[in-house]
Point group: C2
């Protein structure tokens, strides 16, 4: 008996999550033997809780194509945390939606927290003896999901970081004396995205120091290095991960007059300390939303793999796989090659995959090892369609499933 | 008798100034009857003051080609202000360099302040009866030079702003309730660059308000609008020009605990006020250096016109023109067409060209008029060369002229 498939997006947006979405629709349409309705749940699991599904078969082909160059999350997303107690009423609400629409396949596209949701759902359906399979599709610019070589969305974000650091470095060396630049990069507790700055290897342009959250951060040592670099070069480019913030001494954290930690960002706080203690004119730069939503930074590898991972997820879920996430495994050898596998969600949900000590050391010592890891992921931009000089993007009809 | 040509870059970097540089080298090499040495002055006029010139004929062709996709200022730049008193010793230093290298042609590539330098130099050479011509090549992302339809570098920066606002808007609408986003755009006292945000016309994505520096800014009115928008939509996207900062009430300016006005930028200050007064979670985003140095944003029009303006400057200077800047004149009619003309520097130096009241009004009322102005300038990206996924850039040999 055919069943319906529902797909949802969860957690922070990326430039590639809608390409995963594209891949799901494409493959689901091919699975004519198994799949009946193809639905999207609006705002992640909230759409399942509130019976807010849209019919993806009613979307225009041209708009589906544009998903490949539309950042963010076309179905909307959520940070809603599903209870671990399967007696919680949320599970009954979800079950009602699942039964109403004859849903047999559920694809969850997200990062660590979303894989936790994915795992809970699959466990619930199994225990409740409901024939609904759940498979995860990895997505996070933080690149911190376990077992997979890298996460979809990370390559494009990493290309944004590397390209932007190069542009900033070119700009920051035009005066005989420049500002002390501090760039802040996302990535939560993992340094993967910040480490992308290390692929800039030209001595004239490479960052002076890259601070990863996996390493102990010492403000006083930071200031010693800051002085050393600036006095010598009359310019500086320090790159810091947002994850460093938790390691700041308490008194230095509270620099904002309203007592709001997040205002102006962590790098603005660091910059104010450099200015106050060392007297240099500083320029804090936060990549903010653009590092995860930059359409121009989408890489071909990221796009190709997103489509393949989605195809794999759909192909496997219709054979009965559940409680698993698709991972990308890199094959050994000089040529970049990968294969796609399934991994049980139990070991993935809520686990943060950090950089290895070797990679961490490499990032401030030449960056060769890290470049070997990253360059195949970012090496080619995609061909984009424009309307005027700005990229086209998907507009969905969002026809509600009754 | 053949004379040497010297070219220099002045003021803030842009993504297109090195394309102007490319155009100068290309045309200067064609002028075999008039031009002998082709020199670059390092760090703007400082290279003339300190006899620090490089021989551009010694640079590799491949590196010269890459200038077209290298942001910033390959020769280095300066904000050095030349004295208005022609008896100042600086003029004698410059004269020494000019005589030593038989310089008869001087091309100054910059914005308002640089055109002031350009004007002073041409006046000095004329009064001192020195046969050295001086012609200006317009450059500024602020787009505030008089007489020219637009300034080189502005189209690329404007494309960066429009594309980035679209990306941010897509990202900021994925949650049911999002942050209050305030984006800060450069442009000094003119709103041209900030106004680029108005080409986003999709009601789902367009900025809620765009604040230009030509208009009076009232913080209380801003807060009223902020509340109105956020209460209705549970998200907001306000775009402010950096030029608004001078209009902030004094007490609200000093939000930083160290009393440093520039830390975290003006939009971080505005965001902290919104958070404090209205209680919304905010996200200030400053485009900072990337809006002027973003390689991926370079537009075809900007590139093509930069090469033509430089060619015109070289062709005219060898016929004896001096004390003029090349301007771009847009022809009337639905199809975008321009011609290049010369304009006396007297009316250009130090004059800031502001937006007209019609354009200012249009920006927050549909943006149709402004889009007609801007879209032809940003409509096509250029084809870029990559090394891995990151753009290639010029590395000059910089062989000193003895």
């Amino acid at each position: 008996m055919k069943k319906s498939l529902v797909y949802f997006q969860s957690g922070g947006p990326t430039a590639i999550i809608n390409t995963s979405f594209y891949g799901v629709i494409k493959e689901a349409k091919r699975q004519t033997e198994h799949i009946d309705g193809i639905y999207g749940s609006l705002n992640g699991i909230e759409g399942l809780l509130n019976d807010n599904l849209i019919d993806l078969r009613k979307e225009d082909e041209a708009q589906i194509e544009l998903l490949k160059q539309t950042p963010a999350a076309a179905l909307g997303t959520t940070r809603y945390k599903l209870s671990g107690d399967i007696n919680h009423e949320d599970y009954q609400k979800i079950l009602t939606t699942v039964r109403k629409h004859n849903i047999g396949y559920m694809l969850v596209n997200g990062g660590n927290d979303s894989m936790d949701t994915c795992y809970k759902l699959s466990t619930f359906f199994r225990k409740a003896n409901v024939d609904c399979k759940v498979v995860g599709i990895p997505k996070t610019i933080d690149n911190d999901l376990a077992f997979t070589d890298h996460c979809l969305g990370y390559p494009s974000a990493a290309r944004y970081v590397a390209q932007s650091i190069q542009d900033i470095a070119l700009d920051n060396k035009v005066y005989k004396k420049s500002k002390f630049v501090i760039v802040e990069v996302m990535g939560r507790h993992a340094g993967w995205l910040t480490a992308a700055a290390s692929v800039i290897q030209d001595p004239e342009l490479k960052p002076d120091y890259i601070y990863l959250p996996e390493e102990k951060f010492d403000l006083e040592e930071f200031l010693v290095k800051a002085k050393e670099v600036y006095e010598k070069k009359k310019r500086a480019l320090f790159v810091v991960s947002e994850g460093i913030e938790t390691q700041m001494p308490a008194k230095d954290k509270a620099v904002d007059s309203f007592g709001h930690m997040q205002l102006g960002g962590f790098c603005a706080q660091l910059a104010s300390i450099v200015q106050e203690r060392l007297g240099y004119s500083t320029r804090p730069i936060e990549f903010s939303l653009l590092q995860r939503a930059g359409t121009l930074a989408i890489t071909e590898t990221d796009q190709r793999e997103a489509i393949k991972v989605s195809a794999m997820a759909v192909k496997k879920i219709v054979t009965g796989k559940t409680g698993v996430m698709v991972i990308i495994e890199r094959k050994p050898g000089p040529k970049y090659k990968v294969s796609y596998k399934l991994k049980n969600l139990r070991g993935i949900a809520n686990v943060e995959h950090m950089m290895s000590p070797e990679l961490i050391h490499d990032v401030n010592h030449g960056g060769k090892l890290f470049s070997e890891y990253l360059l195949p992921l970012i090496e080619k931009p995609i061909k984009l369609e424009y309307d005027g000089g700005i990229t086209k993007y998907t507009v969905l009809k969002k026809v509600k499933v009754k």
